[in-house]
C-alpha cells in the first residue's frame, strides 16, 4: 500500500474546496455559537440562501458580483428572521426553530411550486462563468510535489482562502473590541449583561446577521466553485459537521474554525485513503470491511474521534483548559 499517496490525498483535501467551505461556515458559526452562545442549528440555511442568491441572480441576467451581494443580504435577512421571533424566548427555542427553518428553506427550493425560479430538484448550473473568465492561470495542472490542482480549482481555492482570511480578520477585529466582550458576556449570562445596560436582544440579532453573512460566503463559494446549486446539497447534516469543525478547533477562538476545518478534512481523507488501500491490499479481511463500506466507516471514525475529543480535550485544539473546567463547575 502507498502511504505517500494517502498523505497526498489528505493534504489536497485539507487545503481543498471542502476545507474552504467548512472554514467559512465555521467562522460564521463561531460568531454565533462560540462567542455569543447561540445554538443555531440551521446554519446550512445561510449557505443555501447564499448559493441560491448567486445562482438565481445570474440566471435572471444579473452580474455575478450582484449575485454575491444578493446572497449575503439574503443571509442577513435570514438571520433576522431566525432571531426576531425566538431570541426573547429560552435559548433552546432558537435551536428548534432554526433547524426547522433550514429544512423548510430546502424543501421550498426543491418544491415544484418554486420551480420556475429555483428549478426544483434539478438545481441551477453554469452561472459562474464570469468568475472563471477572470482566472489568471492558463489551462493545466499546478501545485507542489504531487499535491496538484487544475487551473480552475486552484483559482477557486486561492480566492476561497483569501475570503477565509478576510472573514477571520473581520471576526478578529470585532471580537477583540468591546463589542466582542459584550457577546462573550451574553454567552456567559445574558441577564448579567442586561443588568449592566446591554441591549442583549440587539447584540444577538447582530451576531446572527454577521454569522449568517459569513456562512453565506461558504454557500456562495460552493455554488461558484461547482457552478451548480441543488437543494439537496444543503442537508441538516452539514450544520452538524460545521459544529464539529468549530468544536474541534475550539469555540470562541478566532482561528479555531479554520484550523478545525483543515484538520477535519485531513483526518477524514487520510482515514478513508488508508482504509481503502488496506482493504484492497487485503490487510483488513473482507468479512470485517469491504472497500465499498469504507466511506461509511470513516464517518463512524469521525464520530468516535469527536467523542474522544469531548472526553479528553473538551476545549478543542485552541481553547483554554482553564475556561472549560470553570464551565463544568
Amino acid at each position: 500500500m502507498d502511504l505517500v499517496r494517502s498523505l497526498v490525498d489528505a493534504i489536497r483535501s485539507a487545503l481543498g474546496t471542502s476545507a474552504v467551505m467548512f472554514a467559512l461556515a465555521g467562522v460564521g458559526l463561531n460568531v454565533m455559537f462560540g462567542y455569543t452562545g447561540l445554538l443555531n442549528f440551521g446554519h446550512v440555511g445561510s449557505l443555501l440562501v447564499g448559493g441560491y442568491g448567486v445562482a438565481i441572480t445570474v440566471n435572471l441576467g444579473g452580474p455575478l458580483w450582484l449575485g454575491v451581494l444578493v446572497g449575503i443580504a439574503a443571509a442577513v435577512v435570514l438571520g433576522l428572521i431566525y432571531g426576531l421571533p425566538t431570541l426573547r424566548l429560552r435559548e433552546d427555542y432558537l435551536a428548534i426553530v432554526t433547524i426547522a427553518a433550514a429544512e423548510i428553506l430546502r424543501l421550498l427550493t426543491r418544491s415544484s411550486a418554486l420551480e420556475p425560479i429555483t428549478r426544483g430538484v434539478f438545481g441551477i448550473q453554469k452561472f459562474a462563468n464570469a468568475f472563471y473568465s477572470l482566472n489568471p492561470f492558463p489551462l493545466g495542472s499546478y501545485g507542489i510535489w504531487r499535491i496538484t490542482w487544475s487551473a480552475n480549482t486552484l483559482w477557486a481555492i486561492l480566492v476561497g482562502w483569501v475570503v477565509v482570511g478576510l472573514s477571520v480578520l473581520l471576526v478578529w477585529a470585532l471580537t477583540r473590541a468591546p463589542w466582542g466582550r459584550v457577546l462573550k458576556a451574553i454567552r456567559e449570562d445574558e441577564d448579567a449583561a442586561r443588568s449592566l445596560g446591554k441591549n442583549v436582544f440587539g447584540y444577538k440579532l447582530q451576531s446572527l446577521a454577521i454569522g449568517g453573512a459569513i456562512g453565506s460566503l461558504a454557500g456562495i463559494f460552493f455554488a461558484v466553485q461547482t457552478q451548480s446549486v441543488n437543494p439537496d446539497s444543503f442537508q441538516p447534516l452539514f450544520t452538524f459537521l460545521a459544529y464539529a469543525v468549530v468544536i474541534l478547533g475550539g469555540p470562541g477562538r478566532v482561528l479555531g474554525p479554520v484550523v478545525g476545518s483543515v484538520l477535519f478534512w485531513f483526518l477524514l481523507s487520510f482515514t478513508e485513503a488508508i482504509l481503502r488501500q488496506a482493504t484492497l491490499a487485503g490487510f483488513i479481511p473482507s468479512w470485517l470491511l469491504t472497500a465499498q463500506e469504507v466511506a461509511a466507516v470513516r464517518w463512524v471514525l469521525v464520530g468516535l474521534g469527536l467523542i474522544l475529543l469531548m472526553a479528553f480535550r473538551p476545549q478543542g485544539l485552541f481553547g483554554s483548559r482553564e475556561e472549560t473546567l470553570i464551565d463544568a463547575r
Binding site: A173, P178, W179, R181, A192, R194, S195, L196, I210
Partner: protein, 292 residues
Amino acid sequence: MPADVLTALPRIPGIPKPDPILVADGVHRHFGGLVAVDIDHLEIQRGTITGLIGPNGAGKTTLFNLLTGFDTPDAGAWSFSGKNLAGMSAYRVARLGMVRTFQLTKALMRLSVIDNMKLGATGQTGERALGALTPWRWQQQEKEIEARAEALLERFTLGRMRDDLAGTLSGGQRKLLELARALMVEPTLIMLDEPTAGVAPALTESLLVHIKTLRDEGLSVVFIEHDMDVIMDISDWIVVMAEGKVIAEGRPADIAANPMVIDAYLGRWHGEAATPEVEQAIVEHPPGEGER
C-alpha cells in the same frame, strides 16, 4: 444626613418620603393563582440604605425583577427619579442609573475580572458593531474605562485578581466583583439581592462597610437580606414584605419591636405555651398562611 428626615415619619406602610428616588404604585404580579407581589404604594428615600425583608416567598425578589424591568407586572405604575419605567426594558432601566445584582451571583465566569468590570461601563463606542471596526475611536475610551475599573478593583480588594477568570474567585469575591461591576454603570440607585448570602463573616463585614460608604457618597441602596444582624446594622429604613404586600415600614428599632413582623416571620402562635388548643390552631393555620 438624608436618613435623619426619616426619623420624623409615621411608621405606616406606604408612607410618602420627602425625597423619593423610587416610587411604586399599585404594582401587582401574579403567577397563575398565586399573588406574588401586590404593592399599594411604596417610596424609597434618596441617599439612604433601605432594607427589604420578609419571609421566603414574600415577593421581595419578584419586586426587584418588576422594578428593574426583568419581569413585567400585570398592573401598576412605577418611576425612578421621576421617570416612568413602565414597559421599559431592563437594559434601559440600568442605563438610567438603577442597577441591580442577583441573588445567585452572576459573575461572567469565563471572562477575566477586569473584563467583567469593563463590561459595566456604558457609552463605549467600541460596543457598537461599526464602532468596533474603528479602533481609534474606542481605544482612548477603553483606557479611561480600564483606569476606573482598576481603581474600583483596588477599593474592593480585588486588585490582585485583575487578570484571573471570574470563575476562579470564591463566592464572596464574586459578590464583591458583582457589586464593583454594578458601580461601573455609575448608578444612582443600586438594588442588591442578598449581597451577603454565602459570604464568609469577615468578608461580610467588609461588604457592609462598602455599602455604607456608597451611601455616604450619595448613592441610594435597596437591599434584600435575611440576616437580621446585617439588616439592623446598616439599614436607615426597613420595609417588610409578606405575601406580596408591604406590611410594615420603619427605622430598624421600630421593626425589631413590631409584633406583625415577628408574626410574619415566626407564625402568629410564637411565644405561646404549647397547649393542645394552640397546637390544634397551628395545625389549622400553619405559619405563613395569609391572614395579615
